[in-house]
């Protein structure tokens, strides 16, 4: 899946599920966990990533802040997981 598509899907999910459809509220460099996604939304985000991209997000990967520090980093994380599964 092209990078732009992955990013678009992640953005759409975040905007529609956590920002009430306000695309302008999602800033490029904003850390996702604790800001856009509160603790009650973490599971929802992981479920989305697993279901939509067919990857498995390991618990230990949640402890690495960089993975979720921005939409771009999350996109890179998903891409890396997809590549490693091929």
């Amino acid at each position: 899946m092209p990078t732009a598509n992955i990013e678009h899907e992640i953005r759409s999910f975040l905007v529609n599920n956590f920002l009430f459809g306000r695309a302008d509220a999602l800033r490029d460099n904003e850390s996702l966990l604790g800001n856009v996604v509160d603790s009650t939304g973490t599971i929802e985000l992981v479920m989305f990533l697993q279901d939509r991209f067919g990857i498995t997000v390991e618990d230990e990967e949640m402890t690495i802040p960089e993975n979720f520090s921005s939409v771009k980093n999350l996109t890179a994380f998903v891409e890396k997981k997809l590549t490693s599964q091929q």
């Binding site: 604790g34 599971i43 618990d59 402890t63």
Partner: protein
Amino acid sequence: MNSIPWSVKIATLKNWHLRSLKRREYFAMSAFQEQLIGLQGRMASRAMAIEDDVPEILNSLPVRISDAVSYWAEHSPDRPALVEGSSTWTYRQLASSVIRTSAWLLASSVRPGDRVMLVCENCRAFVAILFALSDIDAWPVLVNARLSAREVGEIQNHCSARRVIYTTDASSQAAEHANRHGAIMENPVDWGTVAVGALNETAPEMNVPEPAQRVAALIYTSGTTGTPKGIMLSHRNLLFVAAVSARIRSLTPDDRLCGILPMSHAVGLSVVLLGTLLSGATLHLSPRFDPMTARTVLERDRITVMLGAPVIFSQFLQYAKLRALKVLRFPALRIISSSGAPLDSEIKSEVENLFGMVLHNGYGVTECSPNIASTRVEEPRTDTSVGRVFPGVEVKLIDRDGQPVANGEVGELLVRGPNVMKGYYRAPEETAAAIDAEGWFRTRDLARLEDGNLFIVGRAKELIVRSGFSVYPAEVESVLNSHPQVAQSAVIGQPVKGNEEVVAFVQLLPGSSLTVADLAEYSAQHLASYKRPSEILLVATMPATLTGKIMKDELRKMAQNLPVELNGPAPATKQMKL
């Protein structure tokens, strides 16, 4: 607040050291902790009522919360006090850092009695600055960085903060506030970078009162009403709750606690942070919670005690579903406990099955530092009672006329004891309305006592009187929450001509296809007709405070704006997004 001249640092260190040696409270601290160790040994050998020890605990409490580390820094200096990520701070390092942080604060024109705001999330910089402020008799004003710009601004204005310090390393939201306020980044000690706001030259200088009256933390709460109030908690308030809660859980230096509750709030501050450090145990700091990270920490760091809120334990249940796990076992874990919001019986039972251990329950309010009741390790409950009244604390239940209710009856809960706050900051009328001349604090919560165990029924002002019958929202919420596809619910009363109606807001679990009609039918199966919601609204999320309490005033405002037909049957579908 640039680099501190060494002359100031050395002078401050000397003063601190002399004061430590001379201070009566320092030795009292040693006495307290030695007594704690001795009593824990005795308790291990025979059953012992904690209540009997309260006078001794009160007599041996130190003056300042910062003294919590003194004893262990001297007697077990190399034991770990705080763990943050891959870094560990021993008691020696923590004590040393507090001294240098005190010097930095003094050099930054912070005076005894000044209010200094800490816009923070859990991290060791927060702990060092908190204790340093305590040591120089300034007032830490604890502000969760997740508050909005408006809320932070209101608090800053109300408390006339001399300085505002933002724990930017641990919190991107603190960094945002700092950036908006034009704060300067500094790295003055050994706990990373913080941002520091400009000096407020107009902050009035305050006299430092005698020790028992000194404020250890000013915590603003909007509760569920939306109006911020500054709650002044004294050193004695916080240390009393910390010491007794540590005793209840028999904490020892071998314990490792999970610091997931925000330390800018009362439970995280008194029970978790101070309770851990008074006991010489280790606190694993986490700025925010997610169940995946928490599971990793529980396993890797062999956590022995985890205190959380219902929303945290709900997240573990969702995590188990995600991973298709029937059990989650952590061999070192010996206590899990919930507080901060009502614990639903379904959640309690499911969590107990998942963890294979009792989920304890507790109740409190910030004004009571915050503990009022908790279940005891030796007396686990199968229901959702919040347990026995906290040792050393008195309670009474009164009716609407102020008269004591009959045994087992519901009444408004009043509390008196060493946990009750000094008052609301700059709000003498509100303080007088909350605490009467005899020292009784009105919780505004409805409760009943059964065999010495407390049950919280709901908020006094939330009681719904429908067609002359009393409807307790907590009961209706409990029924709705018991539906397997419901994440959470909130019930409010909606005034209509000559009556009051029951309106329920329901948040479904992700992927649920449940309809309002399904929920109405479910309510009809489990509730008397007068208790059933006449309106059910499905919402995407609930407006909640940072501790997970649903903000019912927000829901009331929304309900007022809805074109509802309260006396008609529940519509087949009705959805709104908050």
